[in-house]
Symmetry: C2
Subunit: 205 residues, 2 copies
């Protein structure tokens, strides 16, 4: 519907905003007109925040998560257990695990999962950096907290094979029915795996 | 779910992006991480486009639409008929009417509709500027192209009363069933109005 813009600044803003995922030309125009309606300092602070985001953000040298400094707050926290490493796909997953308040170790952000379909191979992930860490530091346990997808499973399997050369415990977060789930409505694959990977309360023969 | 950000730049970007309409904290984080994954020149050009949008855009002195100069391309175009003015709510509606290629006159952007619920009164719109135009120039026809809502109708009624003091033809865009509509599925108010405002082909008593 939109083919002629009355201003090249509006056209440019719509073009740039519509490059964001899930935002088409119509939504971009709506957002641009919204920004135009606000006080000038809003467009200033939004524009500045976006430019600074890319300019200023660093990645932690140790765990590869997003950070303001060379070493992130978690890695530099002496109270956290450096001998346990939780391997995750992205920085969003670090935030998700942190929000559970159930983990006090360090993280390792892979930067994705192995996915031949998307052209992501082991070399694109920070796997070598993880292996280096295990060689150079005293690591007791590696916990895989990867998604329960084909890509996540592939990555788990690849990492597990790589890690079997080292004397380190390798675990994975539990998979099974979610808290609050009814058995009746759980999909059969999840329920099947939750039976296979059942938790042992007491086991007498 | 999100309460701790690993970087203040990320937090700031999420905060600013989530101020946009229809974008919550989760979407804002997704967009910020997307920007972070792109080449640096994307965040530069997006940020710059947003800042310039507010800084550089002007409003046409004559019709109040968005423009790069004091007088917009439509008002400065000598081929267009300055004696016919299409009154619209916003600059988006100018674009919508332009895309029909059925109108060759000038526009007048009101900047909204009268809406006591939202605290928008006649003084908040560019009505005085429209009346001045009629007094100072030779205007033959004013076409209302306002939305078929309560606010649009209120504005039409208010403007019609104001304009009755001047010798100018006042018309409104036709309301009725849309092209391609089945009568069966048309809502009764629209269908009722389309019967009342029926078009006369031939009328013999």
């Amino acid at each position: 519907m939109i083919d002629q813009y009355p201003s090249k600044y509006l056209e440019n803003a719509v073009l740039e905003i519509s490059k964001l995922p899930g935002i088409g030309k119509k939504t971009a125009l709506r957002l641009a007109l919204h920004i135009l309606k606000q006080e000038p300092n809003y467009s200033q602070s939004l524009g500045k925040a976006i430019i600074e985001l890319k300019q200023e953000i660093k990645f932690c040298r140790n765990c590869h998560t997003i950070s303001d400094s060379d070493i992130c707050n978690i890695c530099s926290n002496a109270k956290r257990d450096a001998s346990t490493i939780c391997v995750v796909e992205s920085m969003k997953d670090v935030m998700a695990v942190e929000n559970t308040h159930q983990f006090n170790g360090h993280y390792h952000v892979l930067g994705g999962s192995i996915s031949p379909m998307d052209g992501v191979g082991p070399a694109d992930l920070t796997i070598n950096s993880l292996l280096q860490k295990i060689e150079q530091q005293t690591i007791k346990e590696i916990i895989f907290a990867l998604p329960a997808t084909m890509e996540g499973d592939t990555t788990c399997f690849y990492l597990y094979k790589k890690l079997s050369a080292y004397s380190v415990a390798v675990t994975s977060i539990a998979r099974g029915i979610s808290v609050g789930d009814e058995l009746e409505y759980t999909d059969e694959v999840t329920l099947g795996r939750s039976i296979i990977e059942r938790k042992i309360y007491s086991f007498k023969l």
